[in-house]
């Protein structure tokens, strides 16, 4: 299996210690651990929000350790735990989609909204079956938590990325909405064969989702194969 993401002896203060693992192409890896185990620090290190004290982050063999977060956006898409963090509340759904559709691409001074792109956005939103396709002019901040999280998943999928990072995406949602969101994730992974790292706190997810589990404990990682 081709290696997509490799972490080599990553050390971040006293949170992560000599942490190393590899995630292959189309693999779905769950990351679990107690509060304070370093799950979010791990994601922030991969995303470039935290510069590790030691070690390297490699994407398809290229060292991206010193790249700022916005420079990594073309290869990785991130869905935040908090639905309000993954969208701009005071912008319309259309504007949020326009923003995300240029992830990792040049932003032009001459590119304006167009009907053609609206059609493409409607198509993406209709897959959620939440009627968001008819609400392009509504503000993202007026959506419910579940709708907003579903929107942020669509936003993360608008461009091709090598790695999909999902940070406790159902933590703030009720059971029914969680099930809908996980169904969207499952379908996406099936269709796109995307490499995915997903932080979860829910023990029910282990065994039901993912190919492999990374258990973070005392800053170190223990692996468990689910296949």
């Amino acid at each position: 299996m081709r290696e997509v993401l490799t972490l080599q002896k990553i050390t971040v203060r006293d949170v992560l210690t000599d942490l190393s693992f590899t995630v292959g192409e189309s693999e779905w890896v769950l990351v679990v651990g107690d509060n304070g185990a370093g799950k979010t620090t791990l994601f922030n290190t991969i995303l470039g929000n935290i510069l590790p004290d030691r070690g390297k982050v490699l994407i398809e063999g290229s060292d991206v350790t010193s790249l700022p977060p916005h420079s990594r956006a073309s290869v990785m898409a991130h869905v935040f735990q908090d639905p309000t963090a993954g969208t701009v509340g005071h912008m319309t759904i259309r504007e949020n989609l326009r923003l995300a559709s240029r992830r990792g691409k040049k932003r032009s001074y001459l590119r304006f909204p167009s009907r053609k792109r609206d059609e493409a956005y409607r198509e993406q939103l209709s897959a959620l079956r939440m009627n968001l396709e008819d609400r392009l002019d509504d503000y993202a901040g007026d959506l419910s938590g579940g709708q907003r999280q579903a929107l942020s998943i669509v936003l993360s999928l608008l461009t091709e990325s090598k790695i999909w990072l999902l940070d406790e995406i159902t933590a703030a949602l009720d059971q029914k909405t969680s099930a809908t969101i996980l169904e969207v994730v499952r379908n996406t992974l099936r269709q796109r064969k995307q490499t995915c790292l997903m932080i979860t706190h829910n023990p029910q997810h282990i065994g039901q989702l993912g190919d492999r589990v990374l258990i973070l404990k005392d800053g170190r990682v223990h692996e468990q194969d689910l296949r």
Partner: protein, 292 residues
């Protein structure tokens, strides 16, 4: 009672100061940055314009270089805050504070410069028409820019930096860009005002922020009554109406001042100008529509 001429002057000054309000809208509303540089960049633009005109430069060239000077002040504030990690408030205050010395030096240690015998942009032609055209042109250009992918990135960088960064937007560059754009406009406003009134005084800088913010908020207040409730929040007002509201708020502010200058019939004196103007603003803001 206000005379027609006084209203006309209030309208002209209001339109000029509307450019300041647009600059402040860009920092406080678009990139969400509490920029205090404007007290310095306004007068910096005015000084650059006055000194250049006095030395025989073309008034239009003086305006252009004032725009650059204001932009430079914004750039320095951005560098202090974004790269040197100095508090946003403090970065602007420090630059404005330092610009006072720079301005005085540029003015040859004299606190004012007169342009009475000099040719300015307003020496010929219809003043109201030319200021209106400048304001309309700026509104058009800015509203177009803020609707492009790049302008959308600027807005996102201010409203949700984490998400913007995850979308590949270089947030720090965008914040510096926003500060440059805003202060360039404020510098231009200073230059236009100094050419309009025919002199430049170093004491005109302090208080610029209050005037600009009051104009922005009054404009938003008037506009929020016309918009549907869900769009009435200050950050949700669509760009074009928000920019027009900045100009409208600024004109309203100047008309309030004109009224305040006539408050002697109520027993008030000239020195009560700020008090009366402030009370009128509070009265308008008190009736602000509740937004979500």
């Amino acid at each position: 009672m206000l005379a027609w001429e006084e209203l006309l002057v209030a309208l002209e000054i209001g339109l000029i100061y509307g450019i300041l309000a647009i600059g402040i809208y860009l920092t406080f509303r678009v990139i969400n940055f509490p920029d205090m540089t404007c007290d310095g960049s306004f007068i910096f633009g005015a000084v650059v314009s006055s000194v250049l005109i006095q030395s025989g430069s073309n008034p239009a060239t003086a305006l252009l270089l004032s725009l650059v000077a204001g932009g430079l002040a914004g750039f320095l504030t951005g560098i202090l805050c974004v790269w040197l990690k100095i508090e946003d408030f403090l970065s602007g205050i420090v630059i404005a504070f330092m610009l006072y010395s720079v301005n005085l030096r540029a003015m040859g240690s004299c606190p004012n410069i007169t342009l009475v015998d000099q040719t300015t942009c307003f020496s010929a032609g219809n003043t109201l028409l030319s200021i209106s055209l400048v304001s309309a042109g700026l509104i058009l250009l800015l509203s177009l820019f803020l609707r492009t992918d790049c302008g959308l990135g600027l807005r996102a960088a201010g409203q949700n930096p984490s998400f913007a960064s995850a979308c590949g937007i270089p947030v720090r560059v965008m914040i510096i860009g926003g500060l440059v754009l805003s202060n360039a406009l404020i510098g231009l406003c200073g230059a236009l005002f100094t050419q309009y009134q025919g002199f430049c005084d170093i004491s005109q800088g302090p208080g610029t922020l209050v005037i600009g913010l009051a104009s922005v908020m009054m404009g938003e207040n008037f506009l929020s009554r016309l918009l549907p409730k869900k769009a009435a929040h200050a950050s949700r007002i669509p760009v074009l109406p928000a920019l027009i509201a900045c100009i409208g708020g600024s004109v309203a502010y100047r008309i309030f001042i004109a009224f305040a200058l006539h408050s002697d019939s109520f027993g008030m004196k000239t020195q009560d100008l700020n008090l009366v103007t402030g009370l009128l603003i509070i009265l308008v803001m008190k009736t602000k529509r509740t937004t979500p």
